[in-house]
Symmetry: C2
């Protein structure tokens, strides 16, 4: 009795640690942690984990760790459902017949092979053991051989299956103990119980990951859809093909550079708001007649008034989307000037929201460097110098500094 | 020793049950389950749970259950952070001084009140017990009185705090045992350990709920943004104000009715795909010159060819969005006819994807019933009869049947 309690003195520690696992929502981190924990606490030479990959309906070796680690790189070994090791651990016929202890022990497998071999050899080739029965037994022997070979290949002395709702979700591979003692039944029972916690934690983490991936996919689709629709609207203005996307990319790069060079600390939402503002900054142009948009000569006062109105038209269009409150500031004020001579409100200096100040630089840079049917775009260097000269006059100096740095790095 | 083990024979069951909790990702269901489990297994008269509401930075009584339940309706009782019961259970000064057993027991609180009262009465009003010290002691007495009163109001003999990273996340309220025995220290220790599992499960469920809410918000914003942008494009066509939104609503109602009346089993994604298709079905009209869109006379052949081209223009615009594959079928084929006389491909009968067949009915119904500057819309009944007559000719009979049923129910 005493000896057993010494064997299993890692129990409490592993139980406590396994409870905390539930809040680790990154499956890979979780699995790495579990395996490392087991190697250290149980003092075994190595351990590994095979996980069910629902997307591909196969099992995959995710990690192996320990001094005598597997030769096979993690993620490389895949097993389909007909693999012998998977089959014996999957709940069903083989599982019920040969997995009475809930854990698959290499010693037991080898014992069964030995018994079957001895019995087969002794068995007469006629009588009650017909050729069919013989064939079945041969197959069974082959099955156990395969299992034994695989376990030896993975340097595993015991495989602990983890189930969720009777579905085989993971297999914990235990290497030999450092002191080369055998695992006793109490230990195997403990690992079996631990495996069900591990299965639940992994399932939980996978569900989290699925939700996060869906969230990322939706976010991405949202931005791409907005880009497609904004570009469709932009297509009405013959001189601005690709302007929307380029301005958005410049603006995001400027804001990132402003953060990186330590000029400013921006709120967490700023980048998303800026992206939306970039994509939609000229949406109000849909209300400007094609004749004015397409004019290459100087606009007269009335035409210029209508053109300038695109900022407020944009605000009007986007007003139903309350979530765009910050982005709308970018749409509204991207033609304001730092010296107060811009439109629509003649805001001055710091009165102009930063989102609009960033857009103003991005918008002007793209307008200067893009080709138009009636003129070629300016060289980048000339455009950058023009913007630099206008820091504190037309533009907020913070985004100008960032834009100049991006140019110097060859990023714009 | 024997008696203690009888007391705590629910331990194993509660531990096992608490493990399964981790995969319940609906916080309310989870909390209801935990409380019900405790009432049954521990055989207490009732139990309740107070949970931290991060959004409002208060604590709220979420559930109470048992034969002698609380009089206060769940969700009604809210406690701010200065509430005495919350203060003594929050990790900090009071917690360290008075919560040595990790669980707040009513009997102990009352004992402290008695001791303080007796000491105060005996204490002289001058000397080392200055007025300031006296005032502090009065306040402490008041503090304990409030705790005692609240626990009695909630019919609770023990409050078990649940922490996550030292933050008080929940309080389990335990009523008296059915046999009116006291909770012994072993039991209180067990509940304290259980509470930390419960806190983790609740935290996990709340994180899930947060993610799901974010997903819902994003989905909703996605559809609303698409509607706003599609409507902006639609605004170029002077005769179709609100057409996009109405067609989408009709189409979704038709598809729902087709499912409800058992005509068809639609794939899970169908509704979302249809919604997108409805919002974008006429997006290709952006490429049709305003002169043709605005014409009230009959279009000549060339004009009609350009007009018909809006289906393929729509496909072209949306092609970069691979996720819209099914929706694009709706955009492309919503002018096909069941008899094969439609455009662009002259598809016939079941060759026309169902998403387009549904849109065709919705689109035609809205076109017939809407007012145009040069004519008033048809009465609904006339339009429905027209659509009914064209079942199997212009339209797939399945969406026609659904549309007629919706009309008969007064839903369109």
């Amino acid at each position: 009795m005493r000896a057993q309690h010494i064997h299993i003195d890692y129990k409490k520690e592993l139980e406590t640690a396994s409870k905390g696992m539930i809040l680790i929502h990154e499956p890979k981190t979780l699995i790495r942690l579990i395996v490392r924990m087991i190697v250290r606490k149980v003092k075994i030479k190595h351990a590994g984990m095979i996980i069910y990959d629902a997307a591909k309906d196969t099992y995959v070796l995710v990690i192996s760790r320990g001094e005598k680690g597997l030769k096979i790189p993690a993620g490389f070994a895949r097993f389909d459902k007909n693999n012998s090791l998977i089959r014996i651990l999957t709940k069903g016929k083989y599982h019920a017949l040969y997995l009475r202890k809930h854990v698959l022990v290499l010693e037991d497998v080898n014992k069964m092979i030995w018994q079957e071999s001895v019995l087969s050899a002794k068995r007469p080739q006629s009588g009650p053991d017909s050729p069919t029965a013989y064939k079945e037994k041969e197959e069974l022997l082959h099955f156990f051989h395969q299992i034994s070979e695989q376990m030896q290949m993975f340097n595993t002395v015991a495989c602990v299956p983890a189930y969720h709702h009777d579905m085989l979700l993971a297999i914990l591979l235990l290497g030999a103990k450092e002191n080369d003692e055998r695992f006793d039944q109490e230990e195997l029972d403990f690992f079996s119980a631990l495996a069900s916690d591990v299965a639940m934690a992994i399932k939980n983490a996978q569900l989290f990951l699925d939700l996060r991936k869906e969230l990322d996919r939706n976010r991405d689709l949202f931005f791409r859809t907005t880009l497609v629709l904004a570009s469709t609207i932009e297509a009405k203005d013959p001189y601005t093909r690709g302007h929307t996307e380029r301005v958005t990319n410049y603006a995001v790069a400027i804001a990132q550079q402003m953060t990186d060079n330590g000029s400013i600390v921006l709120p967490a939402r700023f980048m998303d708001d800026l992206k939306i503002a970039g994509l939609l900054h000229d949406i109000g142009k849909i209300a400007v007649p094609e004749a004015i948009l397409g004019k290459t000569d100087k606009l007269d006062d009335e035409e210029f008034r209508i053109m300038k109105d695109h900022t407020l038209r944009g605000v009007h269009i986007l007003k139903p989307l309350a979530e765009f409150e910050e982005s709308i500031k970018g749409v509204k004020y991207h033609h304001e000037r730092y010296d107060g001579k811009g439109y629509p409100d003649g805001l001055k200096g710091e009165e102009i929201p930063m989102i609009a100040a960033v857009l103003a630089v991005a918008d002007t840079y793209d307008a200067m460097t893009s080709d138009r049917p009636y003129r070629k775009g300016l060289p980048r260097e000339v455009a950058i110098n023009e913007i630099k000269k206008n820091a504190g006059i037309q533009f907020n100096p913070i985004p100008v500094r960032a834009m100049v740095e991006l140019f110097e790095k060859g990023k714009v």
